[in-house]
């Protein structure tokens, strides 16, 4: 049997046992009753000790949401979601203010330990191998905020960040402690009326992270959030808001996992980034939500709105994503290039296997003069998955000198999967220069056999070739995460050929 065909045969079976994060943590939790109503919105708001303005904001979003319908333009298929059959709030019990890690339920700490996420303030990521010929990487500190179901359970390195003037805390705390900042920026990039899922999130979001970096400050460490859905039938609606004030810099990482469940679970997050003059935000995601089993049962619906606003001149926002999980991904991290000379970047690796469906890409909205953007997308489709890149690049009438470069490469493993590229390009002024390149290729039988003849197994060969294919994007990740992501890519394809 030709190697590719053999791969195809094996791909037919994505092995759920390969999902290493599929365990459940047995803790008591406190849930809101199932379903959604004004009462539930009020319940959540009360649980979060919202000030009155926040409750109003939520209620307006909720009322707006009632008038909206789900988007259907993406190339994804799934049964209609019953929004009354979801828990909108779940918190580990007993719920009390946590002031140090010692007060966190040890079961939760264990969970994060199993996930390899260091909540202890020795927060160094483990398992970093130096590349051949290189010294060990300088071990850097990483501040972590961990969100378990609906509640943020720990933020490490708070004190050290405070010294630098950086605010990094759960958003529910920021709403109370820094209302002036939250009120000024929340919803200013993704308005409450933006789209069905963002509006839903605005009504019911329960936690997430808040970051503010003051003018001229280079955040002294990587900031990181880990999201974990644990409860059954629970939606996770986190909200992240990052503001980089003038001349500041911050690098932020987000990772996600969930237990294996037969039911589909909804994850509808909103992330807003604001970069003022000369500021830079680097936002990296490693998304590894449970993808569903070999029959396509279960898995996370990842319906996420992420948008960055390069509000100031010479500001820069860079999105890097490694998407390997979720049953369905609907996600377009975008940049509004409002400030003159601002720059947006989108680097993406999207891997789909089994019955996964990915519809992801970006929007680069050029509004300011001499704005530039760069899009590098690598899609890998295996099994019976569908993988779509959907991108929009527009230049406003006033965006003279706008420049974009887009390169979309797709790699197919087997012949039951599909890769699609849907680029929309719109230039309303003649000085814009937009370049677009796209390729689609099949993983080569000869390349695989070459690797196997040198002693690699079929799976290792596929992993190696794919990691080579996505290298340009992996290089954009902070070193520690590049190593993690590389492993994750191999793991997610392990299911495809084993």
């Amino acid at each position: 049997m030709p190697a590719v065909q053999e791969t195809v045969e094996r791909v037919k079976r994505i092995d759920v046992d390969q999902y290493r994060y599929g365990f459940e943590t047995l803790i008591d939790s406190e849930k809101a009753p199932k379903g959604l109503s004004e009462e539930i919105v009020k319940f959540i708001s009360q649980k979060k000790n919202d000030p009155a303005w926040m409750l109003q904001w939520r209620l307006e979003a909720y009322r707006r949401w009632l008038t909206m319908t789900e988007p259907t333009w993406a190339r994804v298929e799934y049964p209609k979601i019953d929004f009354q059959d979801i828990y909108y709030y779940a918190a580990p019990k007993p719920k009390k203010a946590v002031s140090s890690l010692d007060e966190i339920d040890p079961e939760i700490l264990k969970t994060y330990e199993k996930l390899g996420i260091p909540l202890r303030e020795v927060a160094m990521l483990e398992g970093i191998e130096p590349k051949v010929g290189e010294e060990d990487p300088a071990r850097r500190k990483i501040a972590v905020d961990a969100v378990f179901d609906s509640v943020s359970v720990a933020t490490t390195f708070k004190a050290e960040l405070k010294k630098a003037g950086v605010i990094f805390m759960p958003i529910s705390e920021a709403i109370r402690e820094h209302p002036e900042l939250v009120q000024k920026y929340l919803g200013s990039v993704v308005p409450t009326s933006d789209n069905f899922y963002a509006t839903l999130n605005s009504a019911v979001f329960s936690d997430g992270s808040f970051v503010y970096v003051p003018p001229g400050v280079r955040c002294p460490m990587e900031l990181s959030t880990y999201f974990r859905i644990n409860e059954r039938n629970t939606g996770q609606f986190e909200r992240t808001l990052i503001i980089a004030d003038k001349g500041s810099y911050v690098s932020y990482l987000e990772g996600c996992t969930a237990p294996q469940r037969d039911e589909n679970q909804l994850h509808a997050a909103v992330v807003e980034l604001v970069a003022l003059d000369d500021a830079e935000i680097k936002y990296s995601t490693v998304q590894n939500w449970y993808p569903g089993n070999s029959e396509g049962k279960g898995g996370i619906y990842n319906f996420v709105t992420k948008r960055g606003d390069c509000r100031g001149a010479h500001s820069k926002i860079s999105w890097t994503q490694v998407e390997t999980g979720s049953a369905i991904t609907w996600k377009y991290p975008s940049c509004i290039l409002r400030g003159d000379n601002s720059r947006g970047e989108f680097y993406s690796i999207a891997i789909s296997n089994g019955f996964q469906q990915v519809d992801s890409g970006t929007k680069m909205i050029h509004l300011g003069k001499n704005t530039s953007s760069r899009i590098i997308s690598k899609g890998i489709a295996a099994g019976k998955s569908q993988n779509t890149y959907r991108g929009l690049v527009t230049a406003h009438r006033k965006a003279t000198g706008a420049r974009n470069f887009t390169a979309c490469d797709s790699l197919l493993i087997g012949d039951k999967c599909g890769a699609h590229t849907v680029p929309y390009i719109e230039a309303k002024n003649s000085s814009a220069t937009f370049e677009h390149e796209a390729t689609t290729s099949k993983i080569s039988e000869d390349v695989l056999f070459y690797c196997i003849q040198r002693g690699l197994s079929q799976e290792e060969a596929v992993g190696l070739v794919v990691n080579g294919f996505v290298k340009d994007v992996l290089q954009q990740l902070p070193m520690e995460f590049a190593v993690e992501a590389q492993k994750l890519i191999s793991i997610s394809l392990e299911g495809s050929v084993g």
């Binding site: 196997i452 040198r454 002693g455 690699l456 294919f469 996505v470």
Partner: protein, 250 residues
């Protein structure tokens, strides 16, 4: 016991028989040349020995150190010491040659139950071998064979042969596309790897290569069979009289 024993091998590709009962015995330390016109089945033989998918063995057997090679996965054959230097080595973009060498070597060692090389040991070994093959260090940082010249690709094959230390090396048309200087460097590299234990099967269309890699035995293949065997003299005779006489015999 012979190192490699191919007995009455019949092979089909897409319903068409390509090898019609081929036999070949190779002992430790021997160098065998297989010559023959294009399309005679030389590459097919090398692929079947290495375990490339897509070939159906309908009859005969292949023993390697007395074990049934056809029962083994191709990566298992590699770990047991079967090495195929490809006629057209592929390019693997984004995978640094150094990373590839290390991954492959460690995979083989792991399969044999040996410990993985430490970074310094590995680097030392690669430096030694690449130096003797005139392979610059920066070539090892580039993607596997990406942008390599024909000569560099072949030297990269010999580099891997030197690193993996296989018991059996099959070289498929190593001379194709090489000028004399490139050929000499590659051949010197191969000769340096000749030991009383290691056997080589050198596949070539032209006698030229055999001026550099002197074989102990020469076999002529035609239309899926070995039609004549002899010593290195046979290669010289072929050079004079061509393959035509064997085409008829087959």
């Amino acid at each position: 016991m012979a190192l490699l024993e191919v007995k009455d091998l019949k092979v089909r590709v897409e319903e068409r028989e390509i090898l019609h009962g081929l036999s070949l015995t190779v002992n430790e330390g021997e160098v065998h040349a297989i010559m023959g016109p294009n399309g005679s089945g030389k590459s097919t033989l090398s692929h079947v020995i290495a375990g490339k998918p897509g070939y159906e063995v309908t009859d005969g057997q292949i023993l390697f150190k007395g074990e049934d090679l056809l029962e083994m996965d191709p990566e298992e054959r590699a770990a047991k010491g079967v090495f195929l230097a490809f006629q057209y080595p592929v390019e693997i973009p984004g995978v640094a040659t150094m990373t590839f060498l290390r991954t492959a070597l460690n995979a083989q060692r792991k399969a044999r139950g040996e410990s993985e090389y430490s970074t310094p040991d590995f680097l030392k070994k690669v430096r030694e071998v690449s130096k003797s093959l005139n392979i610059p260090q920066d070539m090892l940082k580039r993607g596997v064979n990406v942008g390599f010249s024909g000569g560099e690709k072949k030297r990269n094959e010999v580099l891997q042969m030197a690193l993996f230390e296989p018991a059996l090396c099959i070289l498929d048309e190593m001379d194709s596309g090489l000028d004399i200087d490139a050929l000499r460097i590659a051949a010197d590299g191969v000769n340096a790897l000749r030991t009383p234990k290691r056997a080589m099967v050198v596949i070539t269309h032209y006698q030229r290569l055999l001026n550099y890699i002197i074989p102990d035995f020469v076999h002529v293949m035609s239309r899926g069979r070995v039609v004549k065997s002899g010593d290195k003299q046979l290669a010289l005779e072929l050079e004079e009289s061509g393959y035509a006489q064997f085409e008829e015999a087959a």
